[in-house]
């Protein structure tokens, strides 16, 4: 298969493994951008989702936000942000965060909404304060869904971070964009393979995290 040939050429080329343009460095850049975007998005969406889900208010507004955010093309937003903000990390972060916020927000909200009210009631009746109820009862039960929202966001961010390369940043997208410019299909396919691989690693990572942080009592029920 020629596609395989390209991929193995890419990974066998020693030059691709060294220096600032090498795979390890690009991979680190990619992970870094993705983590920043995911961190910002989680920082925004988790509290908002928890609060709105907790109070049950703003569900329809969230639905609108989700639809609207889904409708925004990330690449287009990136180009637009480049025009408005120039080069740098910010114009890349805006579309990535816009991409990552809705899944986290929506799943967190839903996770909180679909919680069994009984344990919460019981916890309050035992004299737990609001913070204790949130962190000791609601969050542990909501965790599987919240994590799946985070995973959803992480996968999309990891995939989409590739577009950072179109505005001169690094990351694995660099291979794809450079390869397209240089008419070097080997690099293009190699980079694309790495991105897909990273996305799959992300799935695996979240699965692992789930194994460790989600109580078997909650996991077993699902």
């Amino acid at each position: 298969m020629s596609l395989f040939q390209f991929i193995s050429d890419f990974f066998r080329d020693n030059a691709n493994w060294h220096g600032a343009y090498g795979i390890p460095h690009r991979l680190l850049e990619h992970v870094e951008y993705s983590l920043i975007a995911l961190g910002i998005a989680a920082g925004i969406a988790l509290p908002v989702g928890l609060v709105t889900g907790h109070t049950g208010r703003g569900g329809n507004a969230l639905a609108l936000v989700a639809t609207a955010a889904r409708a925004l093309p990330s690449y287009g937003l990136l180009v637009l942000m480049f025009f408005w903000l120039g080069l740098g990390l910010t114009p890349v972060m805006i579309p990535l965060v816009a991409l990552a916020v809705p899944p986290i927000l929506v799943t967190t909200y839903e996770a909180m909404r679909t919680l069994d009210p009984a344990p919460v009631d019981a916890a309050r009746g035992m004299g737990m304060g609001p913070a204790a109820v949130l962190f000791q009862v609601e969050l542990p039960s909501a965790l599987p869904l919240v994590l799946s929202g985070l995973r959803s966001a992480a996968i999309q961010v990891v995939s989409t971070t590739a577009i950072a390369a179109t505005v001169s940043l690094g990351g694995l997208g660099r291979f794809v964009v450079d390869g397209l410019y240089q008419q070097n299909y080997t690099i293009v396919v190699g980079g694309a393979t790495l991105i897909a691989g990273l996305a799959l690693v992300t799935i695996a990572l979240f699965w692992l995290v789930g194994r460790f942080v989600v109580s078997p009592g909650v996991r077993g029920r699902r």
């Binding site: 309050r124 009592g217 077993g220």
Partner: protein, 473 residues
């Protein structure tokens, strides 16, 4: 927990001859105790007094039941709470929601210490709201609630709630915590170290009849009934004086519910908590309540009385309707079978000689009850046939009743189900102590009603009951 319904009060292995029907005894007590007024406050003493006769002969407290131990514990417990114990006073409390609906309307209740008070009524009667106002899950619009004479709003809400166990319909177990950690929640919140809290949790699992092997399981791995037991254990974990139970058993099937109710009564016997119990099931209310408050839609109190009184003299048509049609029969549960005149004449023990057989046949009863070597009933034989030698054709005896420990209702039930119309009375070992005819039971019912009427001067409804009960007979 698998013991039959009526057993927990007496405990297994009791051989007492003083056949005290706990139900009747209990009811009689409540009748006295609950007479509205300040006198009810003294009720704590009743507990201590109660313990006495049971401990004396050591009969009921045969080894293994642990009753003497628990009673001592309970006595200590009572003392630690002061002489008068906890009492919840609800004083003209109203709860109105912003949308204008009134959930509770000017409700006043005195919830006696150390007993089970049941709030019962149709949906929308404000029973749950009332309960939730006691631990301030809901804040009343007006009126006040006193705990031990002090307004509950005087202490921090978390302190208040931690002093009250709270059990709800679906148990509300924390799905992410193991059973033992669920139970240990409040002790941990109170700052107990993990080991002590877990030890306490395991102790409580045993108390509520849960296999210790379940300790490391998660809630989803338990049946509904088991979950509910965990819920009760969790509420009891920090040994709170008050237990609030919001329809705790309504989500489980009738058989499990019955065993949970029995378990609750057994635990209550041991611990003597002040329990406020909400249900929509009047049968449950009557079965477990020392006092029953019937609420009507709109959050108004319809009647507050011991179950016996509720059955005998419903305050109005609403309560009467709510109680249903067979309250006469049901009320019989509150009459002990100890007053029944048992006869041993038609009983023919195994290996009896011809003379005995002849005497039994001549007793006037149409049938003779044959027993085996251990004295257990074998079956009824026709008195007229009377052949001492050959084996006669036997009619089944049906379920016998335990004389003294079971109620007149059980005795009547046995008689009605018996093909001969005679009920067989046995002792706790299943040994026949005598037989009694439907007529004799009917007479006993009538005299019990009369005695009760003399005792508390209850209204004329009693007679109607007696008549109805007689008709069944």
């Amino acid at each position: 927990m698998n013991r039959p319904f009526a057993e927990w009060r007496g405990g297994p292995g009791s051989h007492t001859v003083v056949a005290v029907c706990p139900r009747a005894e209990r009811t009689a007590r409540s009748a006295v105790r609950v007479t509205p007024g300040r006198g009810t406050r003294r009720s704590t003493r009743r507990r201590d007094g109660d313990a006495q006769p049971r401990m004396e002969p050591g009969g009921l407290d045969s080894p293994g039941t642990g009753l003497s131990e628990t009673d001592r514990r309970q006595a200590v417990h009572a003392r630690s709470r002061g002489v008068f114990g906890t009492l919840i006073q609800i004083e003209s409390v109203t709860k109105r929601y912003p949308d204008g609906t009134t959930a509770v309307d000017g409700l006043s209740l005195e919830i006696p210490d150390g007993s089970i008070t049941v709030l019962v009524g149709p949906s929308g009667c404000g029973k749950t709201t009332t309960l939730r106002m006691i631990n301030r899950m809901v804040e009343q619009t007006s009126g006040r609630i006193l705990l031990d004479g002090a307004d509950i709003r005087e202490q921090p809400v978390s302190t208040l709630r931690r002093s009250m166990g709270y059990v709800i319909q679906n148990a509300g177990l924390f799905p992410h915590r193991t059973i033992v950690d669920n139970i240990a929640t409040v002790p941990r919140m109170l700052g107990w170290d993990r080991r002590r809290a877990r030890e306490r949790a395991r102790e409580l699992m045993e108390r509520v009849g849960l296999d210790g092997a379940l300790a490391r399981r998660y809630p989803y791995q338990l049946s509904g009934g088991q979950q509910q037991r965990v819920g009760v254990a969790r509420a009891l974990a920090a040994d709170p004086p008050v237990l609030l139970m919001d329809e705790p058993f309504s989500a489980v099937d009738p058989i499990v519910r019955k065993s949970l109710q029995a378990e609750l009564l057994r635990i209550q016997e041991e611990l003597g908590k002040t329990i406020v119990f909400v249900t929509h099931d009047i049968d449950e209310a009557i079965r477990i309540g020392d006092m029953v408050a019937v609420l009507r839609t709109g959050g108004k109190l319809a009647q507050f009385a011991p179950p016996d009184e509720l059955l005998s003299s419903p305050a109005d048509a609403f309560v009467e309707d709510f109680l249903g049609t067979d309250r006469g029969i049901r009320r019989l549960s509150f009459f002990g079978s100890d007053g029944l005149e048992l006869t041993t004449q038609p009983v023919l023990p195994a290996g009896a000689d011809a003379a005995q057989a002849a005497r039994a046949a001549a007793s006037g009863a149409p049938y003779v009850l044959l027993t085996d070597a251990e004295g257990r009933p074998r079956g009824w034989a026709e008195a007229k046939g009377g052949p001492a030698g050959g084996e006669p054709e036997l009619l089944p005896t049906g379920r016998p009743f335990v004389a003294g420990r079971e109620s007149l209702r059980d005795a009547l039930d046995c008689a009605v189900l018996s093909p001969t119309g005679w009920a067989v009375a046995v002792d706790d070992q299943g040994k026949v102590v005598g037989v009694v005819s439907q007529e004799a039971i009917g007479a006993a019912i009538r005299s019990a009603h009369a005695a009760r009427q003399d005792g508390d001067g209850a209204g004329g409804a009693d007679r109607a009951d007696a008549t109805r009960a007689g008709a069944v007979t």
